[in-house]
Symmetry: D2
Subunit: 487 residues, 4 copies
């Protein structure tokens, strides 16, 4: 199961507003998951949870937010979720809340574990019950097990059993534990909301917050402190001096495996991810794309809203005029009623309107960020063609996606990826464009600030950093290091 | 946690209607629990569940029922729930559905387990997670454990670990297992819906159904076959010859411990419970009450609707005219808005209207079935007094409730029972009636068809059949028999 | 269009609770209409309205009630509605609120106007718009017309144009006008909620309230003052001395035409209607029925809940034992899902459970209040027969209903009345009972406290008090008196 | 009351899909009104209506759309509404449906009538009732009046009494009448959906549709035929040959008074309005703005989404780089929960995210389309400043709005317009920008294709085409022509 998920959490030293912070942070990160949402909070004695399917405001209604704003005096975590059809069961909405021998724990997980099935089978054999079909549930089973409970640091011991991508938040009644896998696949950042007298040397007021993206920090008025390090556990609690503590459960993998697709598509343009701003990066991708694949045309037209940043870069580098010739309908949401067969085309036209007076008889360079299955792109291209464009040149600001992702991006199986097993020419013919060009992998990596080897590019290259086909259930301190050494 | 719960289940040999049967059966048994409801069904491959808080039609909406009516081709079980405040969490709505090493299982439980806490602690020590605060969850943990899984009959082995009252339905993908505790605390009946060609010697069509009460059988057009025996497991599946099989997990306790309060209050008047009709029994209670505690008065007035049957019996035996002088408002439900303090009295008056023209200046015998906390009764009595009754003689068709129930009836703790630690005279003074009489325990038992020793009367007598204060987690074949022998 | 409607209104001299009073009063009168509900209120400057389809709590939700409780400082009126299919449009939910040259007015109407169509046609010819299909709308058109507006008393002039049954409440920004037609077809009562210092000679505190039934007065803690007289207008306003004033728009018709069916079926048992208590009256009807139509049997069985009062009277007079052998399911409401054809019978069985152990092999006298179409009764009788009754004798506590009502009771057209054009023997055969007897018209009227001529018995006798076939639109002071004189 | 409203209507010659066409058309025009929505349809015998507050999918739910798709075989009209607080009553949601002497009529109105109050007073004096507070209601009162009904063409006679802006749709049971005021203030276009065999000379299949904007035609697959002419009535009905007919109720005003603000802000970028494409026009406005008010800066930054088109033009003309430095949150809708005072700022930050890495230390030219009250703009500017911009130069692609609109755009009263009575320098100081420039009126008009005199520019210039202060209720054929002659 491949999921796109997101989480945010905060602990507040002196005001009972962790519930409100979490609500705001989830809203700011709604782009990371629209299928389900949830919040868990603690008042220092009990942990409670509220989850549901739908967008943040569908689930976190006014009464729920008011309730958690009052209740969650000692911390709260939240989650938004997107998943493939198979995993969209209501029971999979996070955070999960469970009771175990150590009390209550709620969990929110961004990423994907490759050894979840193996762990689950082990636990079932030992008599454990499973309540969801999510990979995340096995994290709590690990934590609850006598093996980990007898460890000096049950949380660290638990995390060492996990293989794959995880930015994790655990909410206990008295603290939040925020951890990131040793490869740093998914982002996780730490921020600070200043207290009223938050001066050096003072006792801390204010609040510590963690979130997937810095855009959530911006919204709650927090300043970016640093990333949670790969292999690190950060504890937030106002029962510890300064409200924060750090330890490692594993050494950071060398090199890291940051998901480059966060920059291509996933993250918010205003966020800083893996040390660089997303919007700036996307403009660079467009510039590089113009350099790699120039073409004579009248206008550069962004595919809204995903292709806009790269289109701005493309237009700037190519010197070809940018025209906003495709206009999205902001009101068409999930509630749209499928018309009968005869009116199916209307549904497509409702989502996008092409400005015929601009495109008629013109040669267009359409810029978009990526192509996954290709069906939506094909329908849009047809609509632009019908509006009268004389030539359509499609430019994509990343390489062809040819391999499934096992680390948290919802890429379909190989069969469903339009570029898997097809040449670029075959894709071009399928889409019905006059020319098609993708950004090269080198081009993509050249726009990144960190060393090329620090990014996971498996969906483009097939080069998986860990063995996804032979997952184990062992504690992975050693195997992990073996992998490190092997590189 | 003391819960009033109810369940129903059915397996249908040749038509995909187990979902509809369960819906109808739950509706017919709505009186047994109004807090939450749920259904689980199987199509032979997967088990699914839908639960929620509220009445049956709130939870089992049209689309849900239509869905399960199509889906649940291989069996379905359902549950309605009532519990005290502490246990009213949404996560406690049954059936519970869990995955374990043997696959999926859903459970619906009527009764209460006295060793649930002890079992839970054991399991938590072994690393198990708990998702609810219900006693029922430990049944599935037992079932999933290697100890039971390695047994020849894991279900039977599981049940032998349970102490207390349980009428249980387990839905596996291919069958329903229906079991009743060795004492027969709670009712559980087996019925049959005839098939089109349901002749002796033929292969079975039709459907087998189990339910708490015969009224559910009536509604689905099933004929009463027999009670599920104390200590028996009945399997319903159209994969076994005849669609039904029976085995024992323990010998029946001798004597049984049928809950006599089912006849006083809990069960539906049209049901046959523990071998006798409830309505007829309640009339008998009223007749006996008239004989034990006669009083000069103008009218016998039933407290609607709970006291009506006994009032009919009382009037018949005493020769005093029955008058329907108290009229309930059928429309006042849970959605009533609390008026401000000044209008609080209005809320009481909305629920019951007293016919002033009947009661004014008259001596009344008010007949009700039971008094638990006494506050509601006190408010009603005040209202009757204000309507002008000159004398109010209250007659209750069971003995004073002085002891908590640990077997599935939601009696408050001892402190909250008005009769606990009070004389009848003290209760009379509290309620403000001119005279108060309860039916004697002997009188109550004299109206029952089975031998007096076959009934649990702990709430009246404090005579608990099993050791509720020292629960164990062991398999209870031997201890159980010891208890039998001890008597 | 024949509607069953009900209304309540109140004006409060010193506390902003008219909204809450109206809510409570509607709840108490929910039995008079379950199709739609609504409230209108005034804060002295503006009149607002809220209506919707469904029961009172469906429409008057917590936020609506809280809102009107604050807002409606100067008076509020409410309405519950029941109508035939044709008239069940949402736009017909009352109160209606309109603006006219005199400002705003809201109206709630109980009854039915026989000249509504004629008035409507007149107004349409004059260019008026109609927003509903209700007879009530023409009352406001009359009021707004220059002819009435130029009158000294526009409300009185308006009412003189109305022919038929009306208990009307008009809410203006500064007052409520409550009026009743000259024949007094429908009930309308005046009550008083005492103020804190409500002594003789003092300025009035407290509140005046009007309602269809005294049961609404009971619920809001008001004492019954008197009926609103036929032909009278009562004004409630805290801008007039004492808070109340009275005038006549027409002399009372002699004799009156009180709807006798209010006592048979419509009104609440705890209400006093036309000067006598409903429950007491119904018991009398049963006694008289026993005297008129005795039969040898084992038990008298009430058809719940409609036949219970008469059954108590029948049993008392006949000396035959009363048994509660039919038990209604309190939870089956409008939300019940129609099962497929095969399970249709289940729906009937869900509504009523017959206690087989009581009825099996017995001769029963089933007592009910009335039969309209007969189909529901037929289905219930079949169910009782299937439960094993050896003889079923049906006794009805009113005469056969053979004529439609034009004065506010939703009796179907003549074709749909089972008794219209059929002998009692034909009805008996249709229902499948062993014997059938109705109460005679003389018997019915002998149980009424007022002179027999004071009641409208048109549905039984066809004797309509006014000419329903030739309605006029003239002011009816003279014609009315002609009708009086003619009698 | 100033309202922004929008409508769409269609009549279908051979398939029962007018309901679906209307639904799609409303969705496509959702940008014209988000407060309420509604649909009315006819099956040839009855007209029905469904309205409600909220967005199109909130009101036109799946069951409503399916219902009207089946029902509205003979035509349907729809409406979306936006209004100021005072007029946001639910009763004002259009279409209105009324009955009158001629039968039923539903109405949907885009625009604003300046003589509505005068007409209403006249009608109230004549005894008419008003159900809404909308100016639109008086159109139906006119139509229903004997004066108009006795005319040869009641609809035309009605329209001649209206003063102000109106694009109107009237749905009768057998036809739609679509009319546009003589000045052509608001757009109204006619389109055609081709039938299967829609050849010249054939009997017509397909459907005629009218809508405010061509974008609605695009969505339903209709081709643009022509504008409905100022002063024209177009009748759509499949009972007339060809399905369409045209007549005039008044000569077109010379010159016209097309609302220029449609191009600045109101209309959809993909629409063709008053003969020219909106997006192209907006780019031109930006180009002209760059020419009129150049400034040295690092980047041109669009204020999303309203300023994007003009920003593209500004960047192109100025040669300064376009950067997408402000990113809107697509998920923040009306359901956002107001945080407590302390978190108010978070709400602003949730709506827009500024990309700090782009703006920090940079000189920005922010381009937006218009400023009304100025408060929202001020808050956004503060946010950009906090993100580190060194200079902020605000450029607005229309002149200062200094006068209220009486013709259908929701401009606040004069007091609430930030530019009314203020110099540009004063507005600049209020907003806190380094420089502020508006496009000149000449500049604006120079971008329009029609002659400058053909546009209404009253909100900028105060030059109202008709006497808004002395409205009359007379038939306006002559006065109208007088006004024409006067020019």
């Amino acid at each position: 199961m491949w999921t796109r998920t997101e989480q945010v959490g905060g602990s507040n030293g002196h005001a009972p507003t962790a519930g409100m912070l979490t609500y705001l942070g989830l809203y700011a990160q709604q782009h990371r998951g629209q299928e389900a949402a949830g919040i868990a909070g603690s008042d220092g004695r009990v942990v409670r949870v509220h989850t549901g399917t739908g967008l943040v405001p569908d689930v976190l209604t006014e009464s729920v937010v008011r309730d958690y704003d009052k209740f969650a005096t000692h911390g709260a975590i939240g989650h938004t979720r997107y998943s493939t059809a198979g995993g969209s069961l209501a029971c999979n909405a996070q955070p999960f809340l469970e009771s175990y021998v150590g009390g209550q724990v709620a969990i929110a997980h961004n990423g994907n574990l490759v050894n979840a099935d193996a762990l689950r089978k082990d636990f079932e054999r030992r008599g454990h019950l499973f309540h969801t079909t999510s990979d995340t549930e096995c994290v709590i089973h690990l934590l609850a097990s006598p093996e980990q409970q007898s460890s000096v640091d049950p949380v660290a011991a638990t995390l060492r059993h996990l293989q794959g991508a995880f930015s994790l938040l655990l909410l206990f009644k008295d603290r939040i534990e925020a951890a990131r896998d040793p490869w740093g696949w998914r982002p996780l950042v730490l921020g600070r909301i200043p207290g009223e007298h938050d001066a050096p040397g003072d006792a801390p007021g204010g609040a510590w917050v963690v979130a997937s993206e810095t855009v959530a920090l911006d919204v709650v008025g927090a300043t970016f402190v640093r990333e949670v390090e790969p292999g690190e556990i950060v504890t937030l609690s106002h029962t510890i001096p300064g409200g924060i503590a750090s330890r490692r459960f594993a050494p950071a993998a060398m090199p890291a495996a940051h998901c480059v697709f966060e920059h291509v598509y996933f993250a918010h343009p205003a966020s800083k991810v893996f040390g660089q701003n997303v919007q700036v990066t996307r403009e660079r991708l467009g510039e590089r794309l113009a350099a790699e694949s120039p073409v004579q045309a009248d206008f550069v037209v962004p595919m809204p809203d995903s292709g806009r940043s790269a289109a701005v870069g493309y237009a700037r580098a190519s010197g070809i005029q940018l025209r906003e010739a495709i206009v999205p309908n902001r009101y068409v949401g999930r509630t749209f009623i499928r018309p009968t067969q005869a009116q199916r085309q209307a549904a497509v036209r409702l989502k996008l309107n092409v400005v015929g007076d601009i495109v008629r008889g013109k040669r267009l360079i359409i810029v978009d960020d990526s192509i996954v299955r290709g069906t939506t792109t094909k329908a849009k291209i047809e609509q632009i063609r019908q509006a009268g464009a004389s030539e359509i040149h499609l430019r994509i600001s990343c390489p062809p996606i040819r391999h499934p992702c096992f680390f948290g991006v919802d890429f379909a199986t190989r069969d469903q990826l339009i570029a898997a097993g097809k040449t670029v020419e075959q894709v071009r013919a399928f889409l019905g464009v006059d020319s098609l060009a993708y950004l090269s992998l080198e081009g993509l990596l050249s726009c990144m600030d960190r060393a090329p080897g620090q990014y996971c590019t498996a969906c483009f290259s097939g080069d998986y950093r860990i063995d996804v086909e032979h997952p184990t259930t062992d504690e992975v301190v050693t195997p992990q290091q073996r992998i490190f050494e092997a590189r």
